[in-house]
Point group: C2
């Protein structure tokens, strides 16, 4: 089922939109339509028919009301850094960008809260709160350009989720524009609160299909005064995965335990950081706290456990520059892998930690069987693995589709999920029925209908409409 | 609107229930009907017409199907330790108790997860996981007898919420019986996961009105190896509240910062613990971590900040026995206050920390103006205050109702909420419209109708049905 508008619907809708927006806010030039037709998912481009750059809550409401009135689909977006095609306007229509709503409205040291517009870049908030001694933990890989509204839509995670949780753990309140334009204030401004149903809980991670956040109240933490980073070198990825589990079972909760397998290391080696020869896998471990000695002692203990479980070397970052070097290597994995082959499709499975070694082995074996290169890296501490399939020829696409499906089945068979943090979007829409029963899918479709009876907000995402 | 069943409906329903349950599982004796007609809310008793003690998921499904088929309301309950009347069968009908489903099915050290039935007592899980070096943080005051199913229904908090969050932060997955009996598996078994809408997020805290949890998958943490506890003594409650904010602004995140005002201290003084003469308020502070020195240093720093902000004395708990003594004093406040007057009505407002001192002063002033004794204690660290009104004569009830309403208005006027952790239930149902707009209430009613079109599951709670 498509919601693609007719030319007449579109024309009438654009005329109505133009009447309520400044000229610079409504774009229909070919370049914009292309740009706003893709994200970071490798799913190609589905051009929009128009792009609106909203600047106020009223305008967001106006755009939603107007598109609904004209039967035109509307797809909200932030920085289009998503990995699952969630902001792609698959049926055309209007893309509603929140990127211009980028005011940090308030940071309260006393309340440990921040109030932001959805277009604020995650990294900008991180820096702003750090300047006053506070800490906003969620750190998706794209933190330097992704936006908080997008983080809310996707319930973004990141390396620090291991200790600090994901975006939903920090969202206290939302100003929320319903699909037909009604503006609601949901949730709370306080740290605790249980008045009524947890609508914020439902809406964080709803992938832009149930409404649009126009203001977000976030919880902050005091900034840990000390952070220590180490790179643990392993001969093989299985050894590294076992060590990760041993560290956590040993009572240590680092803020990150990031895994890189041999292919990932090959991809980033020499790009600002040289791995020791013979490195088969590595774990980037980071520990934080308020007392120098304690943090150092914890990192030493972590390193001891890792050594006892097969780590061949521990490289301790000396100072911020070295620390940044290690992180730059980790962050560049995704881009660097892309340089290894013409195409890259990235999975985002999460499995129980106890199944991680087995899962990694079976992913490698599957790759060999199908003749595909599989690179596995990611947030090993919480079992969230980014398995990437590298391939050069479009002819291999059917094989890759088989591989993706088998990865999803593998994750589910060990008690895992098809998506740990990227979302379902378009990329995994057809895989969701492998994980969730018809009853669960039906309940979600009913919720979607309750919020958006016409199905015009971000159509084609998460699940197939009936 | 009432859903109270007719005698004929009830008789037919009980006959049907009897056909599918063992005789000991279906109770209609007067004592049981009274017992299951009340909770810890001081709202009196609304007797049930029958009590079912379910032992399996199939039986829960059977009871829900059967009551729906006969148009009989059904109210789920755990330990009936709730504070907001959430488990009171206000329209009679069947009370569905989960207390017999109390198996801890699995604790995984490697995965840091537990799978439990809803009738497991919170404290039993805490102890079981501590024995294997793990930690389940949420600690509602009633942890020794409340159940995890009840904690999920109410999204229970507790002192440690300051550092570790509330129940919803630990619920990964649910086996959920829909109001008409359908059994769904929701959420995940992994630490991270974003497949589909966050139905678990919506259902935790839905106060038994959207279905019944029959299995809960919980996230656990490594157990902090060191805990240090101190009692900080202050001349007045405002000074104490200011010190709490200063500690947090000073970059320290203790696991608890519990406040007791002068009335609360008077109530518990001498019951196993003697406060120094002249104590006007106290803060029970607890810091945890893995390194002895670091935890001690943090507590010392906390104590310094408190002293700089007016604390007259710091009593450091020496060993577990003293620690338990301090906590017993804190935990007994609610009961001890009840001994001071014939009636006690407890509020559960939460306010932004920056408004806490002002709020406490205005609560006291309001009490004086109305001639009522107001005792304020609770989780000062996160601004969640339990303001208790003590009174002796039922004649004072209208005055008390006025006071409760004014407290709610006060909390809302400073950006707070009418309930930080107890839930709305019956107690605050009529206050919810002060906090939430008609649009937000309407959305919740629509959700309720989607889940429970006949409105037979736990009727009369959270909001007035239309």
């Amino acid at each position: 089922m498509t919601h693609r508008p007719t030319a007449a619907q579109l024309e009438a809708c654009l005329r109505a939109l133009a009447s309520g927006l400044a000229p610079h806010q409504l774009r229909t030039n070919a370049e914009a339509l292309e740009d706003y037709g893709r994200d970071e998912s490798d799913l190609g481009t589905t051009p929009a028919d128009a792009v609106v750059l909203a600047e106020t809550t009223d305008q967001v409401s106006f755009v939603l009301r107007t598109t609904q009135a004209h039967g035109v689909p509307v797809t909200p977006c932030g920085a289009r850094s998503g990995k699952s095609g969630g902001s792609m306007p698959v049926d055309g229509g209007v893309v509603l960008s929140l990127e211009r709503m980028k005011k940090i409205k308030r940071i309260s040291v006393e309340d440990l809260t921040a109030v932001v517009e959805p277009g604020v870049v995650t990294g900008d908030l991180m820096k702003a709160v750090e300047e006053v001694g506070l800490f906003y933990p969620p750190d998706p890989n794209s933190w330097e350009w992704c936006t908080l509204g997008g983080n809310v839509a996707e319930n973004a995670g990141g390396p620090r989720a291991l200790k600090y949780g994901v975006t939903r753990d920090y969202v206290l309140g939302l100003e929320w524009v319903m699909p037909r334009g009604e503006v609601l204030r949901l949730g709370r401004q306080t740290i605790k609160g249980v008045a009524g149903y947890d609508l914020v809980g439902l809406l964080v991670g709803s992938e832009g299909t149930l409404g649009v956040a126009t203001e977000v109240t976030l919880q902050l933490l005091p900034r840990p005064r000390v952070v220590q980073t180490a790179l643990l070198i392993f001969p093989a990825v299985e050894t590294a995965a076992r060590a990760v589990t041993a560290v956590l079972a040993g009572g240590i909760l680092p803020r990150t335990l990031e895994l890189l397998d041999d292919v990932s290391i090959r991809a980033v080696d020499g790009r600002g950081f040289n791995f020791p020869p013979g490195t088969g896998a590595a774990v980037l471990a980071e520990v934080d706290g308020n007392q120098d000695d304690a943090v150092f002692a914890e990192l030493a203990q972590l390193s001891e456990i890792a050594t006892a479980h097969g780590a061949s070397e521990t490289l301790l970052a000396q100072g911020d520059a070295q620390r940044e070097q290690l992180w730059a290597a980790r962050r560049s994995v995704s881009t660097a892998l892309r340089a290894l082959a013409r195409h890259k499709l990235s999975e985002d499975i999460a499995v129980p930690r106890s199944a991680m070694v087995d899962t990694i082995q079976r992913l490698k074996a599957m790759g060999e069987e199908l003749g595909l290169t599989v690179a596995t890296y990611g947030h090993a501490g919480d079992g969230n693995l980014h398995a990437n399939i590298l391939f050069d020829s479009p002819d291999q696409r059917p094989l890759v589709e088989t591989a993706l499906r088998r990865m999803a089945e593998l994750a589910i068979s060990v008690g895992g999920t098809i998506t740990g943090e990227h979302g379902v979007g378009l990329a995994k829409r057809d895989l969701l029925p492998l994980e969730q029963s018809p009853g669960v899918l039906q309940l979600q479709r009913q919720l979607k209908s309750l919020f958006d009876p016409a199905g015009l907000l971000n159509p084609g995402k998460v699940f197939q409409a009936l």
